[in-house]
């Protein structure tokens, strides 16, 4: 299942046990973007014992921050209920804004295994 990137939303792909999000996120209407993503994520996690999420964002706006917050909250909840969940947050090496954003989301996670990865 692939949701292609638009000029204001990232590419999202769902494979068994894996979700990847890559690009920029500042949609016109956050719900229009987030509803199918959360739907597929729920479905994927319900079928898996282990689930991995790979995120590579270059920019997201303040309206999208709430979506990512809820997204991680859902992942943490699922992890607390027994699914092994791993998140890899990739940021460009010199991008302190996205590095910080990853660190800030990580601070609120208790059950998810979270890795920050710097890319060249």
């Amino acid at each position: 299942m692939k949701i292609p990137a638009t000029s204001r939303t990232p590419a999202v792909e769902f494979l068994p046990g894996l979700c990847t999000i890559k690009g920029e996120c500042y949609p016109e209407d956050i719900t229009e973007f987030s509803a199918p993503v959360i739907g597929h994520l729920r479905e994927g996690i319900s079928k898996a014992k282990e689930y991995k999420v790979e995120i590579e964002l270059y920019y997201f706006n303040s309206s999208s921050a709430k979506f990512f917050y809820d997204f991680f909250e859902y992942l943490d909840e699922s992890a607390s209920e027994g699914t092994m969940i791993e998140v890899v947050w990739r940021h460009r090496e010199d991008d302190d804004t996205m590095e910080e954003a990853g660190e800030e989301f990580e601070e609120d996670l208790e059950h998810v295994k979270f890795t920050l990865e710097s890319i060249g």
Binding site: Y26, S62, A65, K66, R92, T97, D108
Partner: protein
């Protein structure tokens, strides 16, 4: 008439304003403007984290006009957004009309944010994320905190002009922090 055109040309060049839009702003218009602004920013010699901060402030200011400008045309909010080069980086400016009630609210929020240091801004941001949008807000109410966090400094003012109250909102991003 010709003088007017020359004055506009000179004003923009003299103040280093390489992007300016004034008029009705909608999400559709913002999509088009974003791609222009991005092209312009990547043409400058600054590194991407700097231009990302400039872009981020531009988007928050534009969406603030779209959602809250008192002067409206259908779904659009009327206002202006501009980006200029400064000696030490970039200046992102926005102007739109507000009513008395919004002015009070804006003054309160922005005065509070101006007093906060980086750690306090981060805490305020997280608290807002957890609590959701304040009353009367379309977005998550995070936009002003975002501008405060991404800018090297910001300021705001209110001016009475032709019977309107104008909200002036400026953010600076310095290349050498």
């Amino acid at each position: 008439m010709n003088n007017d055109t020359i004055q506009l040309h000179e004003l923009m060049l003299n103040r280093g304003t390489f992007f300016c839009y004034a008029g009705p702003l909608s999400e559709e218009v913002l999509t088009s403007l974003s791609s222009v602004v991005k092209d312009q920013l990547t043409e400058t010699d600054s590194t991407s984290p700097i231009t990302n901060k400039v872009f981020s402030i531009f988007v928050e200011q534009a969406q603030n006009i779209i959602r809250y400008s008192l002067d409206r045309l259908d779904k659009s909010g009327v206002g202006s957004v501009s980006i200029s080069h400064t000696n030490d980086g970039f200046l992102i400016e926005a102007v739109n009309e507000v009513d008395g009630k919004s002015r009070e609210r804006l003054e309160e929020i922005l005065t509070q944010l101006k007093r906060m240091d980086a750690a306090e801004l981060k805490a305020a941001y997280k608290q807002r994320l957890k609590q959701g949008p304040p009353e009367g807000s379309v977005g998550a109410g995070l936009g002003f905190i975002e501008v405060a966090r991404r800018s090297s400094r910001f300021d705001f003012a209110f001016e009475e002009h032709n019977g309107q109250t104008l909200f002036l909102y400026r953010g600076w991003v310095n290349t050498h922090a």
